[in-house]
């Protein structure tokens, strides 16, 4: 314990976050990373560095000891780093990558597809107590944020303390959590070289509730719902770019193979087409990491598409979690002679 405190003071208090005691996990990651860099086990470290605001850390490489001044790991580090390993796998030497439990599913799915090289990765499974959604905090009327405490991983507190230009505000950690953390897949990393820090059970909901609600609607209501939701889409492609399953070298929407190249949206169907195809292309491979919904600047609940496929796959072809293992076949590259007929869609009503 003693050495960690020391290490923290060495690293300096450069983050916007509060006291050293609470940054135990972050410090341990930093120390271990430095150690591995120093002994040549890894050539670089893939983690998060502090952004310009207290709540927007961004993925970054750390190659030298001094780089770590900016290294953060807290409740706002939602970004799934596994997709970055596709490029990192091409680099010389190993890359140390910090993966949260849910990120490891994505990493394993990418391994299955030969998109990342296991031998080029040194995985530190980092603990997670649920990741935060700044939009939710803002939605509570908390504006002008200067700093936030309570977002650290080891903090047992259930409350976030937010220092704003209007004074100090608080809110419950759980209320500020990303939707995906309420339906968390679990505390365990499915693949790692070592783990640092404890994870917390945050699952307090059923991930298919929303899907079921939509399924129960009439065709008119469904259509109206998705028309409203998708008419917000600006085709910025953020969902595609962040998605670990959407890792094609060149997306079909950027190539001429289907005459779908650089297609501008004319009406809401264009987005539907894009989002249906995107969801279909990742069906059976999507780990439900929730990054698409997290990054959507328009707040479209894109995971509703992916979860519909996941729900159908689970119901029709048996429970399946992408990335949970390295079995090469996914539900869509497999079959059973007794599979349901497509007519089941109409029969279910």
């Amino acid at each position: 314990m003693q050495e960690f405190v020391e290490a923290t003071s060495q690293a300096g208090d450069s983050s916007h976050l509060a006291t050293a005691r609470q940054r135990e996990s972050q410090t341990r990651v930093i120390n271990r990373a430095k150690e591995l860099l120093a002994d040549g086990t890894v050539a670089r470290v893939l983690g998060w560095k502090a952004g310009d605001l207290p709540y927007n850390p961004e993925p970054a490489y750390f190659e030298k000891e001094e780089d770590f001044a900016d290294f953060v790991y807290n409740g706002f580090c939602g970004a799934n780093l596994s997709k970055y390993m596709i490029e990192a796998s091409k680099l010389e030497g190993k890359t140390l990558v910090c993966l949260k439990p849910c990120d490891t599913y994505s990493f394993q799915e990418l391994m299955k597809e030969h998109r990342v090289d296991r031998d080029k990765a040194y995985i530190i499974g980092v603990g997670c107590k649920g990741k935060l959604d700044i939009e939710k905090i803002k939605a509570m009327g908390i504006k002008g944020i200067k700093s936030i405490s309570g977002a650290e991983i080891e903090d047992g507190a259930e409350t976030l303390t937010i220092d704003t230009i209007y004074g100090e505000k608080t809110c419950s950690y759980a209320d500020a959590m990303l939707e995906r953390c309420h339906v968390c897949k679990g505390k365990d990393h499915v693949i790692f070289d070592e783990t640092i820090g404890e994870s917390k059970e945050t699952n307090d909901g059923d991930r298919f509730t929303e899907v079921e609600k939509i399924e129960a609607m009439s065709p008119e209501e469904k259509f109206a719902f998705f028309q409203k939701e998708l008419s917000k889409c600006i085709r910025c492609n953020a969902c595609r770019n962040v998605c670990p399953a959407c890792s094609c070298r060149k997306c079909v929407f950027d190539s001429n193979k289907f005459d779908s190249e650089q297609k501008a949206n004319v009406d809401s169907f264009e987005e539907k087409m894009f989002h249906i195809i995107r969801a279909f292309h990742v069906a059976g491979r999507c780990t439900d990491c929730g990054e698409c919904s997290r990054v959507c600047p328009q707040g479209i609940r894109l995971h509703l598409f992916n979860r519909k496929f996941i729900k159908d796959i689970n119901e029709l072809y048996g429970e399946y979690q992408a990335g949970a293992d390295l079995e090469p076949r996914t539900p869509l590259t497999d079959y059973n002679v007794e599979d349901a007929e497509p007519g089941i869609v109409a029969e279910r009503g």
Partner: protein, 148 residues
């Protein structure tokens, strides 16, 4: 075009038929003179597993009112397992279309063997009736292409 009719609603229906069973079944319906609506236009594909969901969405986008895919009966695929994959793909795609509010009756899969000319004709009858009762597909149409 001059032969365009503008009387009652005539649906546009695209049928994807696999070369080995369903296309041959359609041929048999033809040589047995088993009539069905001229609104059905057949596209020949080697196997039902060649049908990309993109094709189906594109058909709807371009104004098709219904899309039906026909293949060999499960277990009888000329390529052993193609229709099994197609079955899963179409089930999931149709379910998704249903989920976003496209009437499930606009999509259909039917397994038709080379010997089932009568079944092909009956299936097309039923499907055309179904689409006619659903009316024009407005939910998935691409506005730009309407007046081409």
């Amino acid at each position: 075009m001059s032969i365009e009719k503008n009387e009652e609603f005539r649906p546009k229906i695209v049928a994807f038929c696999c070369n080995w069973c369903s296309y041959a079944g359609a041929d048999l319906a033809g040589s047995s003179r088993m009539t069905y609506s001229a609104d059905v236009k057949i596209i020949r594909v080697p196997c039902s597993c060649r049908v990309n969901p993109m094709f189906i969405l594109r058909a709807f986008e371009r104004g098709a009112d219904g899309v039906i895919m026909c293949g060999c009966h499960p277990g009888d695929c000329h390529y052993t397992s193609g229709n099994y994959y197609a079955r899963r793909r179409m089930t999931l795609l149709f379910s998704m279309l249903d989920y976003i509010g496209v009437e499930s009756g606009r999509t259909r899969v039917e397994w038709v063997s080379a010997a089932e000319g009568a079944k092909f004709s009956e299936t097309m009858h039923e499907f055309v009736d179904k689409i006619t009762s659903l009316g024009k597909n407005v939910r998935l149409e691409d506005l730009r292409c309407r007046n081409l």
